[in-house]
């Protein structure tokens, strides 16, 4: 009963939307908007083949490295910047500066610094998805409850122990919100990183389809991105449930009404 219900929640709206799409493409044919049937046909044709190993997997590898690195950098940096006021004052404008630079403009500079390599692409991914984690961590760290913080202080819980036992757990709901943002941003940046100075990869393939007007193929690539997004987010939500058990437990019990 329970898994069935979950499945219902997961599938109901998408099925509804696909039906809607199907109905709206019944009459007119638009070159840029394929019908569901074409899309499904292309999907199998394009992605279940050697392309999976030559393009999809390497991209996923870079994505994973990039996202994990971004999360680590974001959390470590966020804890530092969030707890040390002068550091925050020192760095905030500079960080905001970098945040506002569009990745397509950043890519040439990164190529200059790192060459046309995988690490350049990973750097592009990091450069984009570090921000939600960083900002959320900073905010989460700043918002640690005063009484709790005082308690920790009086018991001599300082330095690393303070981070480990107080700051990180208390900021974790916010950090998780940031991580969730990063995951999808990571996918987007993976595509962007492959738009320049590239010759293979999932993102490259999608862009290439787009440029060569292989529109159904392009959309099938976008569907791949979407499905990856869903998969990543489900894994993430599962992990979050475990990491934030206390938090959800607290909310849930109080919600029991």
């Amino acid at each position: 009963m329970k898994p069935l219900k979950t499945l219902g929640y997961v599938l109901a709206l998408p099925v509804l939307l696909v039906l809607l799409w199907w109905a709206s493409t019944l009459g007119a044919v638009n070159f840029f908007v394929p019908t569901p049937a074409t899309l499904v046909a292309k999907f199998g044709e394009v992605w279940f083949g050697p392309r999976f190993f030559s393009d999809v997997l390497p991209s996923l590898g870079r994505l994973l490295v990039g996202v994990v690195a971004a999360i680590i950098i974001g959390v470590v940096g966020g804890v530092l910047i969030g707890s040390v006021k002068w550091l925050r004052a020192l760095l905030e404008p500079t960080l905001e500066f970098f945040r506002a630079i569009p990745p397509p403009v950043l890519v040439p500079v990164l190529i200059l610094l790192m060459g046309i390599t995988d690490s350049m692409k990973v750097a592009v991914i990091i450069s984009g998805c570090v921000w939600p984690v960083l900002l959320n961590t900073i905010e989460g760290v700043r918002a640690v409850d005063g009484v709790l913080s005082d308690s920790a202080h009086t018991y001599g819980i300082d330095g690393w122990a303070r981070v480990r036992y107080l700051v990180l757990p208390s900021a974790s709901p916010q950090i998780m919100a940031g991580v969730r943002q990063s995951l999808s941003l990571g996918l987007i940046l993976m595509v962007i990183s492959e738009m320049f100075a590239s010759s293979s990869g999932l993102g490259f393939t999608i862009v290439q389809f787009q440029r060569s007007f292989a529109i159904p193929e392009m959309w099938s690539g976008i569907v791949v991105l979407g499905l990856l997004g869903v998969a990543m987010s489900f894994i993430f939500q599962w992990a979050e449930r475990n990491i934030l058990r206390w938090y959800h437990g607290q909310k849930e019990v109080e919600n029991a009404a």
């Binding site: 397509p104 916010q174 998780m176 991105l225």
Partner: protein, 280 residues
């Protein structure tokens, strides 16, 4: 903030007995400036020391000169206005939509579960992939940029709002319930203030994403604005000019953040994150 807060983040040092001094001496701004100067200095050194050839990455000083020259041109300001218009409209639409949907979805367990998979599916779709669709629908006009900006910024805010709504304190909410506050009243008086810090972070994220997207859309599609100027400078080989525009973009980002911080300080003075900065 206070002078001794600079040497340690400890609680005592943040007690601010020299508050009056702080007023006179804007430590925070000076530090921020120092950070920016440090960055510019590093940038200056990289080509000067030959780590990267000056031809490809001009030193900061040269770029700043080019930027100052840009400041004298009306064309530059027109481009800035075009970009900022797209940015502002896109952001406002995205935030309005996201807040509305966020509160509706967030306050119903059913909707939250039912929309989860779809939201997760749509979020990672890169705006750039939607360019053909945007141009098809709107041509090379501001509307195309708007669609891309709105699409990208919308998710940032939506997710934050969803998390914020979920963070509501049940004792507070129960109190409101027992005093007969209905659903709407609770959203207004309890849910909204609780979600506000999350929302502000979301808006801050989205504001920059919107800026990035505004520039990118202009860059890739070629609709008028700073992004197109960057593309022009790039394809014309005007490297200093291009970096000057990038610098301008970054400065706009800093400016936007300053404004957002100001708004945040006004609206969130009660929140412990802001509280701990102000009172002490």
């Amino acid at each position: 903030m206070s002078a001794d807060a600079l040497t340690s983040g400890g609680p005592v040092s943040s007690a601010g007995r020299d508050r009056r001094q702080v007023r006179k001496f804007p430590v925070k701004q000076v530090l921020g400036l120092a950070g920016i100067l440090g960055f510019l200095g590093t940038w200056e050194l990289i080509p000067r020391l030959g780590i990267i050839n000056e031809r490809f990455l001009p030193p900061a000083s040269e770029v700043i000169v080019a930027l100052v020259r840009d400041f004298g041109l009306t064309a530059f300001w027109i481009a800035v206005v075009e970009t900022m218009t797209a940015w502002f409209l896109g952001l406002v639409i995205a935030v309005a939509l996201a807040v509305l949907l966020g509160f509706v979805i967030g306050s119903s367990d059913f909707l939250r579960k039912a929309t989860n998979s779809t939201v997760e599916f749509l979020r990672p779709i890169p705006s750039v992939a939607l360019i053909p669709l945007a141009v098809l629908l709107f041509g090379v006009k501001i509307e195309s940029s708007l669609m891309l900006i709105t699409y990208a910024a919308f998710w940032q805010v939506l997710i934050q709002v969803l998390y914020g709504v979920a963070d509501i304190d049940m004792v507070a909410n129960n109190t409101a319930k027992t005093y007969g506050l209905g659903r709407m009243a609770r959203i207004r008086y309890v849910v909204f203030p609780t979600a506000l810090p999350y929302l502000m972070t979301g808006v801050r994220l989205a504001a920059t994403v919107a800026l990035v997207l505004a520039i990118t859309a202009e860059l890739v599609i070629g609709s008028p604005g700073l992004g197109r100027e960057i593309a022009l400078a790039q394809s014309g080989g005007a490297i200093s000019g291009m970096y000057a525009l990038v610098l301008a973009t970054g400065l706009i980002g800093v400016l936007i953040n300053a404004v957002m911080r100001f708004i945040e300080k006004k609206t969130l003075s009660w929140h412990s994150s802001v509280r701990s900065e102000v009172i002490v």
